[in-house]
Structures are given as C-alpha cells and as structure tokens.
C-alpha cells in the first residue's frame, strides 16, 4: 500500500528532525538615539539607528539553567544601554547546520554583533565570520579566534571544584553521581574539577558519571539521574541545562549540586550550591567596545576574581565547617594561590596526568580529554 509507505516516510523524516526547530526572533525594540563615535572595525553601524545585538540560544530562557543565565545577560545589556541598543535573540537553535540559517536571519535583521552561546555552533560561526566580514561574532565556550570572531567563557571548573567540595562533604558513602551532557573537554574538565573538589573533603570519594548526549531534555536527564540513584550514589551533581537532576535528588532524599543558575527553589532540601555564570558585565563590555570602535577579537576567560563565575548561595544542609573550607579555597583561587589543575594529578588509569608543581594552562584545560582518578565512567562517551 503506497499510502502507508508515504505516511511512514513522512513519519521517519519527522522523527529524525523532531528535536529540531529554529527559534523565533524575540526582539526588544527601542527608539534610536544617534551618538557620534567611530564604527568598530568590521562593523557597519552608522549610528543613525540603534546598535543591534543578536543572541543565539541553544535552549529557551525558561530552562532555569544555562540559557536563563544568558538571557539575564542580554537583559543587562538592554537595560544598560537603553534605547541606544536593540537586542534580539533566537531560542531553541540546534547545534549544527541550522545555526547558519539563524545567523543569516540575524544578519539580515541588521545585527552588528552576534553572541552565539553554545560550543556546538563553532563550525558555523567560523564560516559566518568569513562570509559576513562587517558583522562581529562572539562565541561562548569555543576556541577559534579570528579577526572578527571572539571566544569567551570563564573558569567554571574553579566553581565546579568548590561544588565538588560541597558534594564530597555531604556524601556519607563517598559515592557521588554526576549527570554529564557531552563527552567534550568543557564537560570533562567540569567532572574532573568536581571530583578533585570532592576528594579534598573525602579522599575516598568517587564520582560515577552518565552521559546524556543532550544539553537539555528533562526526560533523558531524569533517566540518567535515576540510573545513578539506583547504582547507590547519595549525592548528585550535574552539568545539564535543566534542574531535573535536582528534582530526582529531592524525591530520593539525596543532596545535589546544580549548575548555571541558582536552582535552589527546584530542590530546596537537596540543594548544596552551584557554579553560576554572570554574563551581563561581559556582554556590556563587548557591546560598548563594538559601539566605540575599540572592539578587538580575543580569547576571554572570566573567573571567580572578576565575578564572571559566581558560587550560588549554600543550601541549609551545608555545615559551617564545610562553608568555611569552601570559602577559604575560593579566596585562594581568587588570590591566585590555588588552581584545581595544579599537579600532581593522577589520571583515571593511574598514570600521571599533571606533574607535581605544574599547572595546566587555559588552552590545556580546553583540550582536556581524560578523567582524573576517582571518576567512574568512560571519558570517550
């Protein structure tokens, strides 16, 4: 029956693209207030209309995690510049070729600078920077810098180390679970830092991981967290964009460290703390430079010291002693006297990962592909 066949082929196609949708443009319009300044290199801004700033989100601002924090940053830009700037955003943009389409739409909408806020946009962004030399591009968490393409992120791993300390102190059994999105360096160093933090408080602590292969999918995140719970962990951590792992921890009476945003309200009893990102000041700095014509491409790496990385408030179950220990380490990181990735660090398989006295550079951290001793799981995914 050809009808059945036709139906099936339609369904097959839609199953495969089901998670794929291009975000609508959210736009905050404002009146123009021209100012005299020289245009940024590569920028077409004529100052007769608002400076247009585009954002590309991998999820929705309502994810209570990564994209939520990004959107808080966008709103900070809007309120700082008022009518001189118009921000636009595209949400739910899948990583991959569809990003090109979204970039084109933003460029056509007159974007002067575009912030793409996920690692997987990198190939498309590199291509777009070549194709549209008059538009400035910035990408979060990537590594490729060119004349009109900047990279920016920050030492989330320092926060993850502190989160790990909270987890290690909270665990009675020393068995901790961690729900991880993708087998990429960003997530691997997160797990490594978290594990080393946990081991600082409890040298015997182990961190069992599950890969979800998604930034955001509550059903999948829940399945992963439940698998860890069934394997006997008593504290959960995650690097996902939604707080689902915390909801699972709360339901099982376990403790939890979140990620990206303050997610305490999702699991008030389970909550320990989280690494959160404060994107607003960076975006304001970059937009300002672009408007003034002083924008230069760079590889920017924020930190706890410049408040790009901020620890979320402690949950009620974190003891005074633990708080003190964590705050002391945080102070040491800020002062520059401590870096979680200073050797000796032993790899999962027992070999030496980092020699005593050596500290990994940011670029070395960016290419980290191995787990430290104590992580249970395969770093290849």
């Amino acid at each position: 029956m050809s009808r059945m066949k036709r139906l099936s082929s339609v369904l097959v196609a839609f199953t495969m693209v089901s998670a794929v949708a291009v975000g609508a443009v959210g736009s905050v319009s404002s009146s123009a207030s021209p100012k005299t300044a020289t245009a940024a290199p590569g920028s077409q801004w004529t100052k007769s209309h608002p400076f247009k700033v585009g954002f590309i989100y991998v999820g929705a601002p309502s994810d209570a995690g990564w994209t939520h924090a990004q959107d808080v940053g966008r709103l900070a830009v809007q309120s700082y510049f008022g009518g001189r700037v118009q921000t636009m955003f595209k949400e739910d943009v899948p990583e991959g070729p569809q990003c090109t389409q979204v970039i084109t739409q933003l460029v056509n909408a007159g974007a002067n600078i575009i912030f793409a806020t996920s690692y997987g946009y990198q190939p498309e962004l590199v291509a777009a920077a070549k194709k549209y030399p008059n538009v400035l591009f910035e990408q979060a968490t990537g590594t490729t810098v060119s004349k009109t393409l900047s990279e920016y992120y920050g030492a989330g791993e320092d926060g993850d180390f502190l989160s790990g300390m909270a987890a290690g102190a909270a665990s009675k059994t020393g068995k901790i679970g961690f729900v991880v999105p993708y087998a990429i360096p960003e997530c691997i160093r997160e797990v490594d830092a978290f594990t080393m933090g946990a081991q600082l408080m409890n040298p015997k602590a182990t961190v069992k991981i599950v890969w979800t292969n998604t930034w955001f999918a509550p059903a999948t995140e829940r399945t992963a967290a439940e698998a860890l719970v069934s394997a006997g962990v008593d504290v959960l951590g995650d690097g996902q964009d939604s707080p689902t792992t915390g909801q699972v921890a709360e339901a099982h009476g376990l403790k939890w460290t979140g990620y990206d945003s303050n997610q305490e309200s999702f699991a008030p009893k389970a909550w320990l703390t989280a690494t959160t990102y404060n994107w607003g000041p960076y975006y304001i700095m970059e937009v300002k430079a672009a408007m003034d014509g002083t924008w230069k491409s760079h590889f920017w790496y924020g930190s706890l010291a410049d408040h790009f990385v901020v620890m979320a408030p402690f949950g009620p179950s974190v003891t005074q002693a633990t708080r003190k220990a964590i705050l002391a380490k945080e102070a040491a990181i800020i002062k520059g006297t401590f870096d979680p990735f200073t050797g000796p660090i032993t790899e999962q398989n027992g070999t030496v990962g980092v020699k005593a006295g050596v500290t990994l550079s940011v670029m070395q951290k960016y290419s980290l592909s191995w787990f430290v001793k104590g992580v249970i799981g395969n770093p290849k995914g």
Binding site: V10, T15, A21, A60, S62, T212, E226, A227, V229, H252
Partner: protein, 320 residues
C-alpha cells in the same frame, strides 16, 4: 534504592513510557476512526504548558490543584485536536498537512511557548506534583514493590485507561462501530452510524489524552515548564501506534520497551558496562522508531496488521 539492574531499568522505563502510553492511546483511538493526527507533539506541549499554568496559579489542596491541572491539560489538548478535526473531517484537507500544521502552530516555537511567556511560568519550580503512592501498602515487596506498587497516580490511571480502551474497542457496541468507521466508513454510514460524529469524538479524545501525556511531564516527570520539553515524545507516540499494530495491549508493551531502551544505556553505564558508546543508547529509541516504521510499511506488514483501511482518507458520503 533498587540496585538490581533489571528493577532499576524497569522502574525508569515506566516513568519514561507513561506519557507515550497516554498520548499513544489517544492517537490509537483517533486512527481507529480513520483520522491520522500528526499534531500529537503540539497537543502534548499545549497540555504540558496548560497543566503547569493551572498547577502554579491555582491555590488549594494539592489533590484538587492537580486534578484541575489534569483536566485543563485535557481541554487544551482537545482544543488543538478540534482544529485538526475541523480541518480534516469537515473541510477534508489532507490529514498529514493538517496534523503537521497543529504541531507547528502549537509546538516548540508556537502557541505553547508563547503561552509559557505570557503566563510567565517558565523556569520556575513547580508548586505541586504527583508523587509515588504506596499502593495497598505493598511498596516494600521484593521486585514488584518498586515496579508496580509505588508508582504515581498518573501511571495507575494510564493502566486503567489501557484496560478501558481494550474493553471499549473489543467488547462494546460503540467500540465495534468505531472499528467499522475506521475500516469502511461508507458501510458504517449505511448502517446508520454517524461517521462524522465518531471521528470528531475520537479525535478530541485523542487530543485530551495527548494533553494528559504532556501534563505528565510538567506534573510528574520533571515539574518545570520550558519550551519544547516533550522533546519528540509526540512523534514516538505516533510511531508506537503503528508499531503496536493499532492494538492497545501491544501499545503499552511498546511504550515500556522504548522506556527500557532509553534507561538501558545509563543504567549499564552506572554499572561499569560500556560496551557501546552512550550516543548509541541515546539514539536507540529513535532508531527503533525508524525501524518500526520501515517494517510497518512493508507489504507483508500491511497484509498482516490491522491498519484501519480508511486511515488518512477524509470521508465523503456518495450521494445517490
């Protein structure tokens, strides 16, 4: 905790499978009447957002709030199904096009996301949720306790629904009429069965159940609203109906099978069994969908399985 790997996988599979059972049953009823509705994903999202809105903004005892939220999700799902019904039954447009239109209209960048913004319910923790019930006090029985006797009310309702639909389809007169409408609407019409009414009612019930499936996300699975959180479950539900040869009993098995596949990877991983890369397990439910659909479209399957003969064809009464 259930350290036993089989129990762990099954418990997780039921949670994962429940929205599929609900939405799948709805689609099954619609398709049995001859109406293919590809709007399931959109109807689920509408159910999810509406249920969460009601559960956040209604004040009262949790049980009452949840009941209202569930009812609201069914109304929202039906409302979307009504669009499809009017388009495909009354106006007789192509059912595939109409169903896709519903999903696009209500879906991840459509009405559901818009409502989430207008209602301002995105990214906040749910006030109320369905929790596991210690059914008959048998929660602590070995093996079956954690799997069968400690689920939430949603899961029990889905089991009752499966039995009810089975009984309805095969043991009642309206059920017989429904099957007749799906197989041969002209003959059913000649018998005096109101084909249009049957198609409308079952398409709307289908929408209500899809809405319920969506509500399971925001009221039980992960109580939060954010755009597109059903993440493709609507499409899997449609495939499941074909996979289950339009039979409710096989549908529930299929839904849990999908759940097992999705829970298998992470559970094996936590037990240190990593023979295959995790990406493989992540893709498995979708791979299964593609295989099931490909298999169901073979001529052998078409001869053997119960595809409602009028599925996808708008009914026009032939005037003498």
């Amino acid at each position: 905790m259930n350290s036993n790997i089989v129990i762990a996988v099954l418990v997780s599979a039921i949670g994962f499978g429940t929205p599929l059972v609900l939405a799948g049953l709805g689609e099954l009823l619609a398709e049995r009447s001859g109406v293919l509705n590809l709007g399931v994903e959109g109807m689920m999202l509408m159910g999810a957002v509406t249920a969460f809105f009601v559960s956040q903004k209604t004040h009262g005892p949790t049980a009452l709030v949840l009941l209202l939220a569930v009812l609201a999700s069914m109304v929202a799902g039906s409302a979307m199904a009504l669009i499809h019904a009017v388009l495909s039954i009354t106006i007789r447009v192509n059912q595939i096009v109409s169903g896709l239109a519903v999903t696009i209209f209500a879906g991840i960048i459509g009405l559901s996301s818009y409502l989430g913004q207008v209602w301002n319910i995105g990214g906040v923790a749910g006030h109320h949720q369905f929790n596991g019930i210690d059914l008959f006090g048998l929660q602590n029985l070995p093996i079956v306790g954690p799997i069968i006797f400690s689920e939430d009310a949603f899961v029990y309702a889905s089991w009752v629904l499966v039995l009810a639909v089975l009984y309805y389809l095969y043991r009642t007169r309206p059920g017989l009429y429904l099957r007749a409408v799906g197989e041969n609407p002209a003959a059913a019409d000649a018998m005096g069965i109101n084909v249009t009414a049957y198609r409308y009612v079952h398409t709307l019930i289908g929408g209500a159940l899809a809405g319920l499936g969506g509500a399971y996300f925001t009221l039980a699975l992960a109580p939060i609203w954010t755009d597109g959180l059903t993440a493709g479950f609507g499409w899997i539900a449609i495939a499941l109906v074909i996979f289950a040869f339009w039979r409710p009993d096989l549908l529930v098995l299929g839904a849990y099978l999908f759940g097992i596949f999705s829970a298998l990877g992470p559970t094996l991983e936590t037990r240190g069994i990593t023979v295959l890369p995790s990406e493989f397990y992540s893709a498995l439910p979708f791979l299964m969908t593609v295989i099931a659909l490909a298999a169901a479209s073979t001529s052998w399957a078409n001869r053997r399985v119960g595809t409602p003969a009028s599925l996808g064809i708008p009914y026009t009464r032939e005037e003498g």
